[in-house]
């Protein structure tokens, strides 16, 4: 069952590579939130029920509902629909993200992980790499934030592997998610939207030598 959820997670990563409309990213983040809820429920069986309940609630409420809602609120307020032409075309994005999944498989081999942990590590690491890749290859600032969210989902999955004995670290990871994305990035995107016409990084290139 867990392998099915992880496979669907990898499909969402590939789908974000070819997304042009911005609400696709938000839908993928919601799907990933629900998948993470399922994976957490199946994976963290060794900690006491109270910590497990907290982590599950945080996953569902923040990753699947609150943050996608907040991002779609920003999209509607600034009337953004589509991403502009990216630096790397969608065809090559798809191949590169597939390459990341293969790379994380090789890395899992080098790290000599146990067989039952490998699929999870693979998907988590490829999610981090995909998130960084989306930040690099897209122009709009809001897409950078969504790439950061995808990276955060990958880090959350990595933290589940030690979450059995250190649930505090898992909670810390989610807190980071909430603070950074909602409070700071959301507020600043509003300020940037007020100052500049179009929120792409072409406008943010004035500080040079």
């Amino acid at each position: 069952m867990e392998t099915v959820l992880l496979t669907i997670f990898s499909f969402t990563l590939l789908f974000t590579g070819i997304a042009n409309r911005l609400n696709i990213f938000i839908r993928m983040l919601t799907v990933q939130g629900f998948l993470l809820f399922g994976i957490t429920f199946l994976k963290l069986t060794e900690i006491n029920w109270f910590n497990l309940l907290m982590i599950l609630l945080e996953t569902i409420i923040f990753k699947a509902v609150a943050i996608p809602w907040f991002l779609s609120y920003i999209l509607n307020k600034n009337k953004m629909v589509r991403e502009t032409e990216p630096f790397v075309s969608y065809f090559w994005s798809l191949i590169i993200i597939t390459g990341f999944i293969i790379l994380s498989y090789i890395t899992a081999g080098f790290l000599q992980l146990e067989k039952n942990v490998r699929p999870e590590f693979m998907v988590a690491f490829s999610s981090v790499l995909t998130g960084v890749y989306i930040i690099i290859s897209r122009k709009k600032i809001i897409t950078h934030v969504m790439g950061y969210m995808i990276m955060e989902n990958g880090v959350f999955m990595l933290s589940l592997t030690i979450g059995a004995h250190q649930p505090m670290l898992v909670n810390l990871g989610i807190l980071l998610d909430i603070f950074v994305s909602v409070l700071v990035l959301g507020l600043f995107i509003n300020k940037i939207g007020n100052t500049f016409e179009e929120m792409s990084i072409d406008n943010l290139s004035n500080l040079t030598d």
Binding site: F110, L111, Q112, V128, V132, I135, I141, H144, Y148, M151, E152, V155, L158, S159, T161, I162, H165, Q166, M168, L169, L172, G173, L176, F179, V180, L183, V184, L185, F188, K191, I192, T195, F196, L204, N206, L207, D209
Partner: protein, 471 residues
């Protein structure tokens, strides 16, 4: 117990500042806070080596940086009051400035004394959030750009560092340890898979390089130091870069005696050399005074990384270098604030005949630039000499020659721009400005004197204290 009182005092002062937005209250809270910070510092000295609240520990390395932070918090608050009076912002912005400054000092203090890897990470993230409010203080288009880049890239960097901490947790969990305090981790990593340890250190280095400003991640710190208000620039280009250094230093010493020790040292050496190279190249063509100073910070952090990688007795020079650099660079940024108040610009080509206009200011400015270029009365000469000597003794001859060449280029950039600004140009070209009040220049003179004293005539107590960090 004392830490809890410290947190409560800081929260009270910042809360009062935010809720009661009167000019006198903001100034009073800002002036009271360095006193609270000094009390924590004195308490930490009396409880050296003890653990507090399980996750904090007052060890020697943390205490050195905490003392530097306390001394600089006095001068930063002093110059912040001058800055706020000059700028006459509305009271809401002043309240945010004061609150963010207090919370920034608290977060930085907690990073220095944190013992648990996860807690170190939490407070480094807290410093990012506090600093973003300060960088954004002037609220023009350039500030937005620098703040956005700083917050976003620091968040990505901090996420990478979190991954490094997770990998460290996974590594020690195989040996049966479920605790991430550094003193416990050191004993359990000797037998770990080297590839794991390399991943840990790589992610930590990339993540904390965004804070320290080392080579691949130096762009955001340079931009941030350029647009922030000058007391904040002084603070963050010294103590905040020390925070990044402490993060890297803790993990480096935890993993030093494993099989990847040589690999880590190699990585740090080349990161440092590339930082100095980038700094030297950009300083030659710099046109903005604060950018010139920000690249100089990059150069000194590169030197600290190189010293850390050489290791051994050179570590004394690294710590002393960071202390003296903090004092000198803070003095320079405070002085740049005075230059801006008089010339209304930071562009190098617009500032002429500074010495003719204001002899005291011109003299101090030129001495500050020379001290940063490590010319002999400066203590930085001693520390850079010791680092180069350490490189020679451990066989890094080619790297040492390259470094000497690059440091010459940096000194040339400083002297070229300094001479142009201080001595050349015609008096009649600029409208008249007022001379400096003595009170504005005295803290800078004290910092300069401290740099000379600690470099050339350090008291044995200070030398012993620094050497005890790595016994």
């Amino acid at each position: 117990m004392a830490l809890i009182i410290y947190f409560i005092c800081a929260l009270c002062l910042s809360g009062i500042t935010m809720l009661v937005r009167k000019k006198a209250v903001i100034r009073a809270c800002l002036l009271l806070f360095p006193g609270v910070q000094t009390l924590l510092n004195v308490y930490a000295f009396f409880h050296l080596g003890q653990t507090e609240l399980t996750y904090f520990r007052y060890d020697h390395a943390g205490l050195i940086f905490l003392t530097v932070l306390t001394i600089l918090s006095y001068t930063t608050v002093y110059y912040s009051l001058i800055y706020l009076k000059q700028h006459r912002d509305n009271l809401f912005r002043q309240a945010i400035y004061a609150t963010a400054l207090i919370l920034l000092i608290v977060s930085m203090s907690c990073v220095y004394i944190a013992e648990h890897a996860g807690l170190l990470w939490v407070f480094i993230e807290a410093t990012t959030l506090c600093v973003s409010m300060l960088i954004y203080h002037e609220r023009n288009a350039l500030s937005i750009e620098a703040t956005w880049k700083y917050v976003f890239i620091c968040s990505v960097g901090v996420t990478f560092a979190f991954m490094g901490i997770i990998f460290l947790g996974m590594t020690v969990q195989k040996n049966g340890l479920y605790d991430l305090n550094f003193s416990a981790v050191v004993n359990h990593v000797a037998t770990a898979n080297p590839f794991w340890l390399k991943m840990v250190f790589l992610f930590i280095l990339v993540g904390f390089s965004t804070k320290m400003g080392l080579f691949p991640m130096q762009t955001i710190t340079v931009d941030a130091h350029t647009v922030a208000p000058f007391p904040v620039s002084a603070f963050i280009s010294t103590t905040l870069m020390n925070v990044g250094f402490v993060g890297i230093y803790r993990f480096y010493t935890a993993l030093e005696h494993t099989s990847i020790g040589g690999w880590m040292s190699h990585l740090l050496m080349w990161s440092g050399i590339l930082s100095v190279l980038v700094a030297a190249v950009y300083m030659l063509t710099a046109t903005h005074l604060k950018r010139l100073s920000a690249y100089s910070s990059l150069e000194h952090m590169g030197l600290a990384a190189i010293g850390l990688s050489v290791g051994g007795p050179v570590l004394y020079a690294v710590f002393l270098h960071l202390i003296l650099h903090a004092f000198t660079k803070a003095g320079l940024f405070y002085h740049l604030g005075g230059i801006h108040a008089r010339f209304q610009t930071y562009k190098i080509e617009s500032i002429k005949n500074y010495f003719g206009r204001s002899p005291s200011g011109g003299l101090i400015f030129f001495i500050l630039l020379l001290f940063l270029g490590a010319v002999p009365p400066s203590g930085l000469f001693v520390t850079e000499f010791l680092i180069l000597k350490g490189m020679f003794q451990t066989g890094h001859i080619w790297e040492m020659c390259l470094l000497i060449l690059l440091m010459t280029v940096v000194l040339f950039a400083f002297i070229k721009n300094g001479l142009k600004m201080v001595f050349s140009g015609d008096k009649a070209e600029i409208p008249s400005q007022k001379n400096y009040f003595t009170s504005e220049l005295i803290p800078q003179l004290i910092l300069l004197a401290a740099v000379v004293w600690l470099g050339f005539f350090p008291p044995m107590a200070v030398v012993d204290f620094i050497n005890q960090c790595f016994m």
